[in-house]
């Protein structure tokens, strides 16, 4: 999984007001950040996001798959939350938040479904058949429930609790391996789909999981490893994700913040 050198670029720029750190953008952004022409979008879409968030990246991937222009706004979460974010998502106060004509949509998977429904003339991520949609929702929900939490415990904890997290992560990867099977994408006949978009942002985190958990995805779940390589080459994914090294460094920053050795 390589850092992105995309064909289209975006400049994350924050319009957040008093609560964000003034040096936000240049300090937080890796020098080879994906950049995008910062046009005021004709589809009237704004995304409040945080560069390394796998949840935000799902939305970026969906927007790219649909070739929808949007304004990207970086929220520097490590410095505090902007007024705009707090107003757009007063309940959770979390990114990503999609603003469509100023109206907020929250929660990454909900946003992706919303994009499918609001822009029906663009390539959809969910298939059209109700049964296939149900299975896609189930597996995206599985990724949502399991991967980030378990991964966090891997790098946060030590000793027995970490060993448990490791065992769980292997279980998760094997379960997803079984679901993927010999398909090119989780979306199967549909092609790159909802579950692919849901899980792809975690592929740069594999290296960190491997380091902290002392295992290799390629050994535990070879089909998942091969899938990760395939999706990594897809344009929408490549330009939305950061390199495994950047993710690893970011985890280091978090650990310092939490006072974890």
């Amino acid at each position: 999984m390589l850092s992105c050198s995309p064909t289209s670029t975006h400049h994350p720029h924050s319009t957040s007001s008093q609560h964000s750190h003034p040096q936000t953008q240049t300090d937080r952004h890796p020098s080879n950040a994906p950049t995008m022409a910062s046009e005021k979008s004709s589809s009237d879409l704004t995304l409040l996001d945080f560069w390394v968030s796998p949840f935000g990246q799902r939305v970026r991937i969906a927007l790219a798959e649909k070739s929808l222009p949007y304004e990207y706004v970086e929220e520097d979460l490590l410095a505090g939350k902007s007024e705009r974010l707090l107003q757009s998502n007063p309940v959770h106060k979390k990114i990503p938040v999609l603003l469509h004509g100023g109206k907020p949509v929250n929660e990454s998977l909900i946003i992706v479904q919303y994009l499918d429904e609001a822009f029906p003339d663009t390539p959809s991520l969910l298939p059209s058949d109700p049964y296939a949609r149900a299975q896609a929702r189930f597996w995206a929900d599985y990724v949502d429930k399991k991967v980030y939490d378990c991964g966090s415990r891997l790098w946060k904890l030590k000793g027995e609790p970490q060993a448990q997290a490791r065992a769980e992560m292997l279980e998760i990867l094997k379960t997803l391996e079984t679901e993927l099977g010999d398909k090119e994408f989780f979306g199967g006949e549909h092609g790159f789909g909802f579950v692919d978009a849901a899980f792809a942002p975690f592929t740069p985190w594999f290296m960190s999981y491997e380091k902290y958990g002392e295992f290799k995805v390629a050994e535990v779940a070879p089909k998942i490893a091969a899938w990760a390589e395939r999706v990594g080459k897809r344009e929408s994914v490549a330009k939305s994700l950061y390199s495994p090294d950047k993710v690893y460094d970011f985890i280091g920053v978090l650990k310092k913040m939490y006072g974890i050795e």
Partner: protein, 232 residues
């Protein structure tokens, strides 16, 4: 499109999640067979059809592999069968309905549980959080309408159904002051409307039976809540 293939639900009589699947099917007018599980002694059938989570409800439609997770089932039933739409028509309203259902399931559970089953400062803090959450949810009821879905029961009513029925049961068993007329009159009114609905009533477990079944588990609930509080 409606299908002649048989529909079965693997559920449990006192499970609010199981209720969601049944409510959706009944509101769409889809006949189904209910297979009841004893959750303390899970059957081969359940474990085979939901190997990932091993939970109810599970929906079986014809001979296709099972559909699991209650909210996934509700959306499937809405899309696969004819009948009044459970999801709102407007795309933003759909996103909002999904958001509040997810909020209920992911964010409210722990604090509600602690508000019910702990005591002292932990309980007071959890009760404050729960009341804030209930107020937020209450605020989603369209003004002048009986249900979150408007004039008819919809996806969000079904998702929040456990507040209407189970929470009142838990409140009675625990004695906690939550979901009161004074603090949440609109939500209480909705709870009465939902549980009184002709169709929904048929898949709500009898209140007294649920109280009788769950009261013996009070000590267990308290110990779970204490463990949650210790982790915070």
């Amino acid at each position: 499109m409606s299908s002649p293939a048989a529909v079965k639900v693997i559920g449990a009589f006192d499970s609010p999640f199981s209720h969601r699947a049944e409510a959706a099917l009944r509101l769409k007018g889809v006949p189904y067979e209910l297979i009841l599980e004893d959750l303390r002694n899970k059957s081969e059938l359940l474990l085979t059809h939901n190997p990932v989570h091993k939970k109810v409800p599970v929906l079986l439609h014809g001979d296709r592999p099972a559909i699991c997770e209650s909210l996934v089932i509700v959306e499937y039933v809405d899309e696969a069968f004819q009948g009044p739409l459970l999801m709102p028509a407007d795309t933003l309203a759909r996103a909002a309905a999904r958001f509040w259902a997810s909020f209920m399931d992911k964010e409210c559970g722990e604090s509600m549980w602690m508000a019910l089953w702990t005591d002292g400062e932990a309980q007071a803090a959890a009760a404050r959080e729960t009341k804030t959450n209930l107020t937020l949810i209450e605020g989603q009821l369209p003004v002048g309408k009986r249900f979150f879905g408007g004039d008819a029961i919809g996806y969000l009513d079904i998702a929040l159904g456990w507040i209407a029925h189970w929470m009142r049961v838990f409140v009675e068993i625990s004695g906690a002051r939550l979901l009161t007329e004074e603090e949440h009159p609109v939500l209480c009114r909705w709870a009465r409307e939902y549980t009184a609905d002709e169709t929904v009533r048929q898949c709500l477990p009898d209140r007294d039976r649920v109280i009788a079944a769950l009261t013996p588990r009070k000590e267990l609930y308290i110990s779970i809540a204490k463990a949650m509080a210790a982790q915070r």
